[in-house]
């Protein structure tokens, strides 16, 4: 019983494939339309995903630099160190004494010793703080707290950049969502029309089949398979388009990234993302066909 059922489905599957191949140009065109429609949101999604990975590289845990006044003594330093240790928002911190900072500067500047002319050390003592939480609000709050402490000259952190980037990323995500909804609707519309035309050309077959005892699901099946298969092939086309686009722009993006001293390696969609895209494309094709069949099949009543 089940094997007969499977055999029937297999038969419809093969039959549908043959039907797709029998009108190669039409099939190819609608598959390409679906592919392009999918590649747009998916491509932007990849772009955002990669931007996020860059922002992760630079600002995932923003560091706060704390510069003390030049006349701060050992006692002040100990006091600040103790307060930092007590603050639960701080994950870890590192103390860089003015002497260590000067030593570092001498080492970094190489053969030209720009410090040799100095009569005294102009650098302040500093703490470099890693926070537990990178949310801009937390950082702002922490800044306010530290500012009230004595012997603090300057606090510096790069939250504004993080805020801007995360705002852009949020906008991008919204854009991907909007594009996905719009283009999915377009795909359903394309499939609706394709199936409508097919039903019209298969009118006789549908009529006769109904007359000799075909159930509705038997009549629908080839159309639903057709929609799902076109969706699937459209999804595969989208993956190819994306892979080609990444390949074509990879070098340029790398150069751009190097100008910003970022280590960029374009990440492709994960296997999970790929599979979900294919599944979604198949489902959309099926859905378009399903709506079309529901709308047009009942109009064909046996005469």
């Amino acid at each position: 019983m089940i094997s007969a059922w499977l055999a029937q489905h297999w038969h419809v599957f093969v039959f549908t494939l043959k039907r797709l191949v029998s009108t190669p140009l039409t099939s190819l065109l609608s598959i390409i339309v679906i592919g392009i429609a999918f590649s747009l949101p998916a491509g932007i999604y990849i772009l955002i995903d990669n931007l996020q990975s860059i922002s992760g590289q630079t600002v995932s845990s923003p560091q706060i630099s704390l510069f003390l006044k030049l006349d701060a003594n050992q006692n002040d330093i100990e006091q600040i160190r103790q307060r930092l240790e007590e603050n639960p928002q701080i994950r870890q911190f590192q103390f860089i004494s003015k002497n260590a900072a000067l030593h570092q500067l001498q080492k970094n500047s190489g053969s030209v010793d720009i410090t040799s002319g100095l009569t005294h050390n102009p650098l302040p003592d500093a703490f470099i703080i890693d926070t537990n939480n990178s949310a801009p609000e937390t950082l702002g709050q922490l800044q306010a707290t530290i500012e009230d402490w004595p012997e603090i000259e300057h606090i510096q952190y790069d939250a504004t950049w993080a805020e801007r980037l995360s705002a852009i990323l949020r906008l991008g995500h919204r854009l991907v969502l909007m594009l996905s909804v719009l283009l999915s609707t377009a795909i359903i519309a394309v499939m609706f029309n394709t199936i409508r035309l097919q039903i019209l050309t298969k009118r006789e077959e549908i009529e006769v089949s109904k007359l000799i005892g075909a159930t509705n699901s038997f009549i629908q099946r080839p159309f639903l398979y057709f929609g799902a298969l076109q969706g699937l092939f459209g999804g595969i086309t989208a993956l190819c388009i994306i892979a080609l686009a990444i390949h074509a722009t990879n070098n340029e993006l790398m150069e751009l990234a190097q100008l910003y001293t970022l280590n960029l390696h374009i990440r492709h969609l994960s296997i999970n993302d790929n599979l979900s895209l294919l599944l979604f494309a198949t489902w959309l094709g099926w859905l378009g066909a399903r709506i079309s069949v529901a709308n047009h099949l009942w109009k064909i009543e046996s005469k």
């Binding site: 006769v208 007359l211 000799i212 005892g213």
Partner: protein
């Protein structure tokens, strides 16, 4: 097998095609339905095939009341019936073999397992050598016979034929009547609508006369 109780069929334009028909056809009977064109022969057959529903009255076929049948049960009832259409309703995009395959596909048979049954049906109507031919290349008589092969391949309990010998010369018509007689002998219930007087003269079977939507005695 087939039971009509006070069945009327009115078309949307108000014309009464069938008017208060009472009719019983026993299993294994062979019945001719005759009358001039427009007398309601085709409508009667279409009611039996559950292709149309009566405006009023009760029809039961194989013990099932058509009016109370769920739409999902209708296909199963139709599979018990072999319908030979006046206009054949063959599919021109596939071979004779594939045309006969259709009812078996619909009933859920694996098409690899039924080739023998299809060839047996084609053989019975004398079209075995034309299994690969497309209907467009067949003559009128051959198309009629192909339609018969398609109607009998799933071994229906009721066979309904609407003008099966219309437009055929007498030799072909005799062939086709011989086929119906052989189906009758193996117990199939057969209804044949015809206005072919020569068929009616020769037969010993029951003849129903339809006149302006009513059965004449």
């Amino acid at each position: 097998m087939i039971n009509f109780k006070n069945v009327s069929k009115r078309f949307p334009d108000g014309h009464n095609v069938l008017d208060s028909i009472d009719l019983t056809i026993e299993a294994g009977e062979m019945v001719f339905i005759t009358g001039h064109s427009g007398a309601g022969k085709s409508t009667l057959l279409r009611l039996i095939g559950a292709i149309e529903r009566p405006t009023s009255g009760n029809i039961s076929i194989c013990g099932q009341n058509i009016a109370q049948l769920k739409p999902s049960a209708l296909p199963l009832l139709r599979r018990k019936i072999g319908f030979i259409f006046q206009d054949h309703k063959l599919l021109f995009d596939r071979s004779a073999f594939d045309n006969v395959l259709l009812p078996l596909q619909i009933s859920g048979f694996d098409h690899k397992l039924v080739a023998g049954r299809i060839r047996a049906a084609l053989d019975k109507v004398g079209l075995l050598k034309k299994e690969k031919a497309f209907p467009i290349t067949l003559s009128g008589g051959e198309r009629q016979r192909l339609c018969i092969a398609r109607a009998i391949v799933h071994r229906p309990t009721i066979l309904i034929a609407d003008e099966p010998t219309g437009n055929l010369d007498t030799a072909y018509a005799k062939d086709i009547m011989d086929m119906f007689n052989s189906f009758h002998q193996v117990g199939v219930t057969i209804l044949i609508a015809t206005h072919d007087a020569s068929l009616l003269e020769k037969t010993k079977q029951r003849i129903l006369q339809l006149n302006q939507g009513q059965l004449a005695a």
